[in-house]
Amino acid sequence: MPSSRQLIASQVLTSTTASITFSAIPGTFKDLVIRISARTDRSATSDSIKMTINSDNTTIYSFTRLRGDGTSATSNRNTGNTYVSVENTDGNTATSNTFDSTEIYIPSYLSTANKSISSVIMREDNSTAATTYNSVQAHLYRNTSAITSLSFAPSNGPNFVSGSSFYLYGLAS
C-alpha cells in the first residue's frame, strides 16, 4: 500500500497566543509529523518550544540533543522533564519577521510501547554570534498510551506571536 501524508489539523495564529492544542487526534494513521514555523514574544533572541503529550506533565520525558550554535557543535541530554523540549526557536529580539523551521516526527503514535520522537529545529538570525541554533534531537516519552493530543507552548514567551503556524499531518503506512 502506498504511503500517504494527510493534513489532520492546522493552526495559524492571528494574535499572540500562549499555547495551542491539537486534540482528538484520529487513530487512523501510522505516524505523525508536525511542521512548525514559530516565534515567541520573549525579550531575547531565542526561546524554546514545549510539546506536551496527552496533557501529561509528569517527569517522564527525556532527550538527547546535538546542536550547533553558529560557532561550535555541542551535545547534551536530560531526564525527568515534564514536556518534550524542542530548542531553539526565535525570540522577540531576533531578526524581525524571522520564524524558526521545525519538524517533529512521531512514529507509531498508537503503539503500546514508549514513544520515541525525533525533532529538527532551525533558529535563523542575521547574526554570526553563537546564538543561532541548528539542532537535532531524540526524545523519549515513557508512556505506552496512544497519543490523542499534542499541546505547544513557549518555554518562556509567554506567547507565540501572530503568524506562528502549526501543521499536524498523519502518515498512512
Partner: protein, 204 residues
C-alpha cells in the same frame, strides 16, 4: 443488460475471483504531498531553476541528488537563490561533521545561501555517486515572514577522507516576498549529468 452468468469458454479462461470492487488495483489514498516538478542535469549546467512555482501549497520540499563536474576533491556543495534575487540578503548556518570532527559555523549577508556537503565532486567520486539532500521551506507564500530554510544534506564516496560529510544547514532569506522561483547554483564548477532536483508541494 445485466450479466447473469459467465460460462467457461475461449474468452474467459483463468479467471481470478476478487472479494472487493478494487480487484487487483491498489486503493487510491489521497495525499497532501504532491510532486510539482523535477529537473535533471544533462551535465555542465551552472544553474538550474524551478520557475512559476504555484502558490497553492503551504510548504515546499526539495529532494536532491547532486554532483559537481569539478575535478578536485573538495566538498562540492550548492547554493540557493530565490526569485532571482542576488543581493546580500541571505544568511546561513551549519552543524556539520566530516566523518572525523563535528563543528558549526555561520555566514551572513551573502548573495545566496550555501549548503555544504550537498554534492560530491567528480574528481573524487565514482561515476554513480551523488550527494543527497532534503530541503524544507515552510510558509513559502507568507508575506509576513522572512523565509527560513531547513536542509539535511550529506555525501559519502566510500572513503575515509574528510572531503565529504553530513550537515544540518539552515538558511535565511531576509525577504517577506512569496517564493515563486528557486535557483540552484553549484558551489564549484557545474552540475554533473544525472544530478536530480525534485520539488514537492505540501498542502496545509
Amino acid at each position: 443488460m445485466a450479466i447473469t452468468s459467465i460460462k467457461t469458454g475461449s474468452s474467459f479462461t483463468n479467471l481470478q475471483k476478487y472479494n472487493d470492487f478494487l480487484g487487483p488495483n491498489a486503493p487510491f489514498i489521497p495525499t497532501d504531498f504532491e510532486s510539482i516538478a523535477t529537473l535533471t542535469a544533462s551535465g555542465g549546467e551552472t544553474s538550474l531553476t524551478f520557475s512559476s512555482i504555484p502558490s497553492t501549497y503551504k510548504h515546499l520540499q526539495l529532494r536532491i541528488l547532486a554532483k559537481d563536474t569539478t575535478n578536485n576533491t573538495d566538498d562540492a556543495g550548492y547554493s540557493l537563490r530565490f526569485n532571482g534575487i542576488s543581493t546580500t540578503v541571505y544568511d546561513f548556518h551549519r552543524l556539520k561533521s566530516d566523518g572525523s570532527t563535528a563543528s558549526a559555523n555561520g555566514t551572513v549577508n551573502q548573495s545566496s545561501m550555501s549548503f555544504t556537503y550537498g554534492a560530491v565532486a567528480s574528481g573524487a567520486a565514482a561515476a554513480s555517486m551523488f550527494g543527497v539532500g532534503i530541503i524544507d521551506i515552510h510558509d513559502y507564500t507568507d508575506t509576513s515572514k522572512n523565509k527560513t530554510v531547513r536542509a539535511l544534506v550529506g555525501s559519502n564516496i566510500n572513503s575515509t577522507g574528510t572531503s565529504t560529510g553530513i550537515a544540518l544547514n539552515s538558511g535565511l532569506w531576509r525577504s517577506t516576498a512569496a517564493i515563486s522561483s528557486i535557483t540552484f547554483l553549484p558551489n564549484l564548477t557545474a552540475f554533473a549529468a544525472g544530478s536530480t532536483f525534485s520539488l514537492y508541494g505540501i498542502k496545509g
